[in-house]
Every structure is written in structure tokens, then in C-alpha cells.
Symmetry: C2
Subunit: 360 residues, 2 copies
DNA sequence: CGCCATTATCGAATCGATTCGATAACGCCC
DNA sequence: GGGCGTTATCGAATCGATTCGATAATGGCG
């Protein structure tokens, strides 16, 4: 007798099951995968043997080596998870992605491209990658992935060869918001911008933002604003949150020459700006118009109906997930461009008349 | 010549690199992994060959088969991602987990145990699993995982053999909150509970909640309240959110015989209850005391300083992540029990005198 | 000068399954 | 009853790396 198998905590292998069932390994495999003709009696024998041995099914590692697929799709997040997941838009997208990839039987592997000896894009066993919240510096990541022959989907990034892009009309949508403000007579407009790059300190928007920005989304939205208000200025917030918006709003509104309208680059930031205005006794929209971006249903929005553009975040995620799945299966999905929808709420109004200015 | 390799889009293998470099496969492997003595000149040759062929490093699939490790830790979420990620506590824990597993060089694979042909706990290539937001019905999941010989860490679950548990003093902390209310003279206390199970409809708390509840956290916290207020009743909210809290709060406060104090099972729910009170013209804390749970920094908390218990959510996640890593490495970490800290804010006050009741 | 301890390299086995081509068994029809 | 098309099963190759034990080359030391 060979009583050596039970000493270690080794799981039984398919070969062991086959041996016990008295069939060959190939037949046992067929019996499990159902990918071939197997008689009912044989299948039963195999299944019984598996039961006896406590065989939990084929080892996924061996399977993925043989099949050349792991069933895993990587998602690259550019920030700390906690930051990424606080943003309702990221969440919505993630949910869309999860929906599609889940339906296709794939799992989602979270990867961050920052720091650490982490399991990273060069060593993770995945079949495709989705880049979320893309910055322009992801070129390196893409290079690595291309070398690995890995299909890549990018959400809101520049077009890059070999990368399937899912885009949003950030520029145009912002321009539409700006034009709405222009129609209302606003001349002094300031932005509360999303971070330009990884450096997260609040600052005045530098004049050369177009060169500095590594975040596509931020840059494109700023461009949209510039299309309508060439000389606009503003503040760069530390992140997309109500608190960051309030801080930025305070700096804007308490400074010299406060604007009559603020373009916030997210609904959370917009809500923060409104808070800031409230705390300074500035009425919205009578004395200050505020617009956002996203169409997030911000809890705590109170009685305001924010003027904003509504982006199809879940759909964007869905599209990305679907594209990734198609790429894995050898298909060639087409890039998709999504458009946002202007929603005019109660936070914008015609510019108050100059004669109401105090002193003169 | 054998010009057949370039036709397909096949990635080069380590063997190809070794061949070009004129060394054996084993040596090439050593050169890459650094796990053995290799002369500098040989290493250089190998690296050059790799460069030439565009070799992107060892195939993770083959690696994980051979090594018996994939570097992936699975996280089982019991709800839709979107739901899970909306809860600040889940996020904080996730962040703690990600921190520790990331440092250990492991990636996080998101798994949901609901529906679909998903890559699931029986077929995902992972080294360990962390169960988050555990319900009592996860016994089946645990059975599957044990059969696979997979290390399992569970956060806030019953003790189960073979499962390393990370627990929180849900019951005791709730009892402390309740005692605080008792000290303030409150006799009529109602709960706004977290969902008892997957069914997500708002309902009156059934009398036999102790049997019905499949969520450990919900049940243990309810038990804590019962320890102090044996006959309490209340509402089961649809989820942990401000909106759900408001809805539940309205039902409680508009109903017959409204309570003088509400124990909400999360800070978000508590905030919702406060909102409900505000909209009904009921003053907090003068006419209604409200306590929460979690110690979440709820944006939009306004001027309230919520009485609650602060749980170390990030630390809980860290502990789970660390435990998972240790289990993978063959260690035997010990279970951990975390405790929450009572924070008395401005949302609780002594019960208003009965003579203030209207009519009689 | 010869022996032994290092150091660098190699060959072959191994991880655990899948899959292709071959073989054997079987019933069918003319 | 013999040839043929099915159906079930098997053997062996393969996926792409890692690693153990063996071998060859190198250097130090007595």
C-alpha cells in the first residue's frame, strides 16, 4: 500500500480521481467539463470517485495555463481605493463594468498603478485590462500591457494605438454648461477644477494648465470652459468631494473680485461650493450661479436642483466591460463615445444687476 | 529556416529567450527570478535576448501553476458592488484590506456570491478568501472553500471551524449606547435596523427577528439593544443610507406612539432619521434623541455631532488582510476582536418631561 | 601540484489540467 | 456477414514556467 498521500494536506488531483474511478485522466476531464462524449455510467463513476476523495473540481491555475485564459479582467485604478470608491461616478462605472464582466463569467481584479511591490499590471494573471480614471502618464502602463499582448480598454483617455477607448464628451458638455451661463449674462465665471494630477493640494488654477494637466477628464472639461470663456480662472480642488468643493468655494468667494458664476467640475464639488456660499450668506442662485458635472444623485443636496450635465456613467462602465469581454474572445469591438445631457435646475439664474454692488 | 513563429501573435516564451541567449531554460529562469547564482555576463545575455524578442517576463499563469500560488486574494461581497461600495464602512474596511494585501504583493479579486455564471469561489484562482459583510447563510460558501483547501478569513461572522474570524463588539457596543439612553431617562426607544437579510423592503421589525436575521451584524446589534430594552420595536430599513433612514424615520415618527429615542444601526441611517425629524418639526435632541453606529464622518452631517460608537473599520480591514496573507504563507494568525468606542455628541439629551405632551 | 569547496550551468522532472489523434467497441444496413 | 459510421475511451503531447540534483568549471590552500 502507498499510504503517503494523506500525510500532507494536498488536495486530490484529477489524476487521482481518474485512478480511483478506473478511467484515464482524459476521460475524467471530459466527465467534468462536459466537452466530449462520455457515457452516463462512466460519468457517474468519476463523480462518485470525486465525491469520495473530496475533489473540489479542476485546479483553476492549471486550467488557466492550459486554456490560456484566467477569466480575470484587471481594473487599474489610479488612486488609493478609498479615494476612487468615494466618487459616485467611479462607483457607477465600476458597477457597469462588474455587471457585464460578471455576466460573461469573468472576475474583476483591482490593481493600482501606484507604489508598492504589488501584484501589478506586469505580473497579474489576467485576460484583459480596463484603465479607469486615466491620466496621460499611462503611456508606460499601456506599453507594458502591449508587450504582454494584453487587450486594453481605456475610459476617457486619449486615443492610443492598440487601446480601445470609451470616451465622454467632456469638452463639449462643459461648453454647453458655459454657454448656458453666458446666456444668463454671466461674465465673471470661475472654475473649481478636479485635480490636474496626482499632487493633491488646493491651488489657484495655473495659467498653463493645458500643459500641466495629466488628467484627461480635468483637462478636457477645462478646454470646454475655455471655448466659451477664454480668460477664466479658478481653483484646483484636492479631490472630488463636498468638503474639497467647500474649501475651494470659500477661497473663490472670499477672494478679491468674486465670480457671479462657478463651474464646478463635479456635482460633489458644486454642492461644496453651494455650502460655501451659504456659509458666507451668498444666495444661490440669486447672487451666485453654480453648475456641476455628472448628474450624481448627491445625498444631502437638500432642496437644490443642481444645474449640471448628466453623464451615462453606468453605461460607460457597461460598454467598457463589454468591450473587454469581446476583446478577450477575439472580437474587435468599436470605440464608443458617450454624450452627456444638459440638465437645467434651480442653481443658475440671470446675473444680478450691477447696481446692486455695494459701494462704488 | 523555420519561419512559423511570427505568423501567430504568440508571445515569446522563456524557452525562446533562453535559446536565443544560448543558455538553458533553467538558467534563464534563474536570471529572471534572481533565485540562484547567475554570472553577470549570463544575466546580461538573457536580458538582451528578452529585449530582442520583446519578452515581457514569465507568464503569470504558468508561474502560479508551478508555484502553487497566484498572488490573488478573493474578496466576497454579498451584495451588488454598487451597494457594497456606497457604505463608508465597507469602503474603509476594503481600504484596510487593500493596504495590507497590497503591501504583501497580492491583488484583490472581487467576487460576489449572488447569481450569474460568474467566476466564483469554486473556480477562481486565488490563494485565500476574505468574506465581508457576512450573513449566516455563508456556511455553504465556507464548505466549498474548505473543500478547495482555501484559507478563509471572515469579518463579523459566527465562529466557524477552519475560518479565521475578525469580530466587532456589535452587541456590547449597542448595549452601551442603549444604556446611555436609559441613563437619560428614555423609556420609549425604537430601532432603525439594517436589513435582516437579502430581502430589501422596509418593514416593521418582526418579533422573531432573532431567528429571521441572516445578517450577523444586524442581529448582534439588535441583541445588544434587547439586553437593555427587552421590549423594543422598530423598523427595518432597506439599506444603510440617509434616504433609507429618512424613510424609516418618517414611518416611526409619524406612527402612533412615537419613541423619544431612536437607535439607528448606522450613522447614515441616524442622519436620515434626523432629517425625518427635521421635516416633521421635531427638534433633535430636545424632543428626540438619536444615536448611530460606525463613527463614519458623514458628509452633510451639518451642525450635528452624532452620538454613536466609533468602530475601527480600517483596522478591521487591515487585520483581515494581514490574516489572509499570513494564512497564505502558512502561518496561523489568531482571531481578532475589535471594540468600538462610545462617542457622546449633541444628538442625545434627557427625555423631555411628559407634561409637555399635547392633549391628555 | 593535487584535492576540495564553491560557483555557474544544465537536464529532466514537475505543477494539474486539456485536447488531439488514435484505437476499440458497437450497431446498422445492404 | 462484412464494411462503415458512431460513440466511448485512452495515451501522449502540451501549456510555460520552476526547481532539484548532477555536472563542469573555477579558485584556494596545504
Amino acid at each position: 500500500m502507498d499510504g503517503e498521500a494523506s500525510a500532507t494536506t494536498q488536495r486530490p488531483t484529477l489524476a487521482a480521481v481518474a485512478a480511483l474511478a478506473g478511467v484515464s485522466g482524459s476521460t475524467a476531464s471530459l466527465a467534468f467539463s462536459g466537452a466530449g462524449p462520455v457515457s452516463d455510467s462512466t460519468r457517474a463513476k468519476v463523480l462518485t470517485a470525486a465525491q469520495t476523495l473530496g475533489y473540489a473540481g479542476p485546479d483553476p491555475r492549471a486550467q488557466s495555463l492550459r486554456r490560456g485564459r484566467s477569466g480575470i479582467i484587471g481594473i487599474v485604478i489610479e488612486e488609493r481605493l478609498q479615494d476612487a470608491f468615494r466618487d459616485p461616478m467611479s462607483l457607477a462605472m465600476l458597477d457597469g463594468i462588474a455587471d457585464e464582466t460578471g455576466n460573461a463569467g469573468a472576475g474583476l481584479l483591482l490593481l493600482s498603478d501606484i507604489g508598492g511591490p504589488q501584484l501589478d499590471i506586469r505580473s497579474a494573471p489576467m485576460d484583459a485590462v480596463i484603465l479607469v480614471g486615466c491620466s496621460t502618464r499611462l503611456d508606460e502602463s499601456v506599453a507594458v500591457l502591449r508587450q504582454r499582448g494584453m487587450p486594453v480598454v481605456a475610459i476617457e483617455a486619449d486615443d492610443m494605438p492598440g487601446v480601445l477607448s470609451i470616451s465622454l464628451d467632456n469638452r463639449d458638455a462643459t461648453a454647453r454648461l458655459a454657454r448656458h451661463l453666458l446666456d444668463l449674462g454671466h461674465e465673471s465665471v470661475a472654475v473649481v477644477a478636479l485635480p490636474l494630477d496626482a499632487a493633491k493640494e488646493q491651488q489657484r488654477l495655473p495659467a498653463n494648465w493645458d500643459e500641466l494637466a495629466t488628467s484627461h477628464t480635468t483637462r478636457d472639461r477645462l478646454r470646454g470652459l475655455r471655448d466659451v470663456y477664454p480668460g477664466f480662472g479658478g481653483i484646483v480642488a484636492t479631490r472630488s468631494s463636498i468638503d474639497a468643493g467647500r474649501a475651494a468655494g470659500l477661497e473663490l468667494l472670499e477672494g478679491a473680485d468674486p465670480p457671479t458664476a462657478v463651474v464646478a467640475q463635479s456635482d460633489l464639488l458644486a454642492m461644496g461650493v453651494i455650502r460655501a456660499a451659504e456659509s458666507l450668506g451668498i444666495r444661490v442662485p440669486e447672487e451666485l450661479s453654480v453648475v456641476g458635472f455628472d448628474g450624481a444623485q448627491v445625498d444631502a443636496m437638500g432642496s437644490y436642483d443642481l444645474t449640471t450635465v448628466i453623464q451615462p456613467a453606468v453605461e460607460k462602465g457597461r460598454a467598457a466591460g463589454r468591450a473587454a469581454v469581446e476583446l478577450v474572445e477575439g472580437g474587435s469591438p468599436t470605440p464608443m463615445a458617450f454624450t452627456s445631457e444638459l440638465h437645467i435646475g434651480t442653481t443658475t439664474a440671470a446675473r444680478s444687476q450691477p447696481e446692486r454692488s455695494r459701494a462704488g
